[in-house]
Symmetry: C2
């Protein structure tokens, strides 16, 4: 069976490597051989072992009827969206690691695949090599998913781990991440949470069956976290993690991205450095947790290759992800969810005590005079903001949700 790879960057070259290195195992498991016929990339790769397969012309793949499965690992929506749509309409199955495309056009592309009797799969789009997409829609399909919370960005988790374990500043940790190749030169998509936002959209759409679009997922990155907040978290027996979360609220869905205090008994606190971990709660299975390499050439490529194999097994059959389009009316803001908050600011302990019942003050040796930090009881953000605003002698500096 002939396959094509679009994009010969990190994931694309990894996909070729997985298919070629494990070729005999893969053939044995499938009962057929997967041959890479084309690799689409505008760049030249002189001397590359797959040089003979390289093409700069998308139509070579589109018009070749012998190609039945295409891996789109180009990233971005343009031209990936147009290419994917054309391929699906031409009766080819497409698999992808492209979280931006799936988060933005997933429902539409799944519909196109359905209409053309082919498959569109995206296991590699969240969690890299960590099995998460199939476990949700296959292993947990007899459950109503109640909520999930995931550490699904390795870059920010690496930075937070360095801050937590080595008292490094955010700036220094980011520089180190860039030096090690974990962060891009322009780290905005990671640091500001957009990467997590896209992956959260994909997981939420899959868990709840309605497309959750990025613009309905309020997103806060780690850019405003100070080392002192990390230390307060530690002093409070917590870790601090950037989480993509979604929760069912009656028939509404609340999805958001933000840093969170995570209590030390949660599996999420065992996710360090560039690793990913996702906790999921089903109404029958309770809590399950998935962990592994959330990025990287071969782990991500191993997920792309698994999708290619699944397409090869399902040439006559469609996988149904139960992911429908939506108009956003099912989404509710996280501001309406009552949760406990960590709050740091400057002001008077007495005034805070007067205004907020049941706060736990956190003491941190060496903290500036007048700085106060505490966790609150559960309340909505709106309620908390109103109270904080009303305290005369208090200037808010940061607030972070406590994850439960």
């Amino acid at each position: 069976m002939n396959v094509a790879i679009m994009g010969y960057g990190v994931v694309g070259s990894g996909t070729a490597e997985v298919l070629q290195t494990n070729a005999s195992t893969i053939s044995k498991r499938l009962g057929l051989t997967l041959d890479i016929k084309y690799i689409l990339d505008l760049r030249d790769f002189p001397g590359d072992k797959n040089e003979d397969k390289l093409t700069k012309n998308f139509d070579d793949i589109l018009n070749d009827e012998s190609v039945s499965i295409v891996a789109e690992v180009m990233g971005g929506c343009n031209p990936a969206f147009e290419f994917t749509k054309k391929l699906l309409c031409a009766g080819k199955s497409v698999v992808t690691s492209n979280k931006e495309l799936v988060a933005t056009h997933g429902a539409e592309l799944l519909k196109t695949a359905r209409e053309n009797g082919v498959n569109y799969m995206f296991e590699a789009s969240v969690g890299g090599g960590v099995p998460i997409i199939r476990p949700i829609y296959q292993c947990l399909c007899a459950n109503e998913i109640e909520q999930f919370a995931g550490i699904i960005n390795g870059t920010t988790n690496f930075i937070l781990t360095k801050m937590y374990k080595e008292d490094m500043s955010l700036e220094d940790a980011l520089k180190l991440a860039q030096k090690l190749g974990y962060a891009e030169k322009d780290p905005t998509a990671d640091i500001c949470g957009y990467d997590v936002q896209r992956k959260t959209c994909i997981l939420a759409s899959l868990c709840f069956g309605k497309h959750i679009y990025p613009d309905s997922v309020p997103t806060e990155g780690i850019q405003n976290l100070s080392l002192r907040d990390v230390k307060y978290a530690k002093a409070n027996g917590c870790d601090i993690k950037l989480l993509g979360q979604a929760k069912r609220f009656g028939d509404k869905i609340c999805a958001f991205v933000a840093p969170a205090f995570v209590k030390k008994d949660s599996q999420l606190t065992n996710v360090e450095d560039v690793f990913n971990g996702i906790i999921l709660r089903g109404n029958m299975v309770g809590e399950v947790f998935f962990y592994g390499a959330g990025a990287g050439k071969l782990p991500t490529a191993s997920a792309v290759a698994a999708d290619i194999m699944d397409c090869a097994r399902h040439t006559e059959k469609r996988k149904d992800f139960g992911w429908e389009d939506s108009d956003g009316s099912t989404v509710v803001s996280p501001k309406e969810m009552p949760v406990s908050y960590y709050v740091r600011g400057v002001g008077s302990v007495a005034e805070v005590k007067k205004a907020l019942s049941q706060v736990n003050f956190i003491s941190l040796p060496g903290a500036p005079k007048n700085e106060i930090a505490f966790t609150t009881q559960k309340q909505t953000e709106k309620e908390l903001d109103e109270i904080l605003d009303s305290i005369k002698d208090f200037k808010l500096e940061t607030k972070v949700r406590v994850f439960e």
Copy 2:
């Protein structure tokens, strides 16, 4: 679509509950309704909500052509083996939580299913509700699995957790487990490792494609562990866990069950109480880890129900697990694997030092005089035994592998 459940015990009643409680979600996801037509059990359940579905006659299910999927959750090989075989031959798909049956007759039943164009699925047989079977044969199918290690028995893990965290003796912890319903009156299958052995066979057969039978999996339970060994583990910066393990050794497979020292940086040390956790290493994905409720009515039933749904989706198609029969010639003994050992005994430190290079002695306040405990460098068990035997002034009391 009509389904039948064989066995109305914990898992069977849970399966009915999952299918009935989540009926609307399940119908929506499948595009068809699953109706429980029969429940087979020799007992009476007067007043039970499913009383009208109960039958004591297996032939009711076997001969009813309208029943296409059967959940076998009776446990044991007899009569489950005969029943399953007949059902598969009659063109019905069978799903099961029965680890004993799958470990003993998996290859044969999969062959029977293949020959009859139906499916035999067993997600619930290992790890209860934790997705592990599908992740291995689908998500990680582009990998060669190099090894796995799993905490796959909740009872023994509960006992070890109590010993580790609360200094409870094995005996007291077992009594508590029995009181809480985590251990059976006759706890042999759990304590002596037979339950873990069966699950290890299933995972190993799936990972390596050859049936690994229970009699080729050397098995040691926790019955000989003393509280002092647990304390030595702690003093050595380790946890102590009962692991089911398998490893690829060239073209041979080594599978075994035994307690192990587990270093504190392993995800396995975060698996406490009755929970299950499995680490898997693929040659492309690296390490992945799965965690959740390894037993219990609804978690296990959620996996049974997922298999039923998968069978309903695949009436025309067979799932291929790549699990072939074997004559045991691919199996190699764990005694031939060089590993580091923890050793406890009575004797002379000087003599031990003389005989074994590079040992790390572990000191434990309050340990009996003359007792010595240490970890060794990597060597095979045979090599270690020969050296230990040769030490004049040393009486071996326990040795435990250090997991890496």
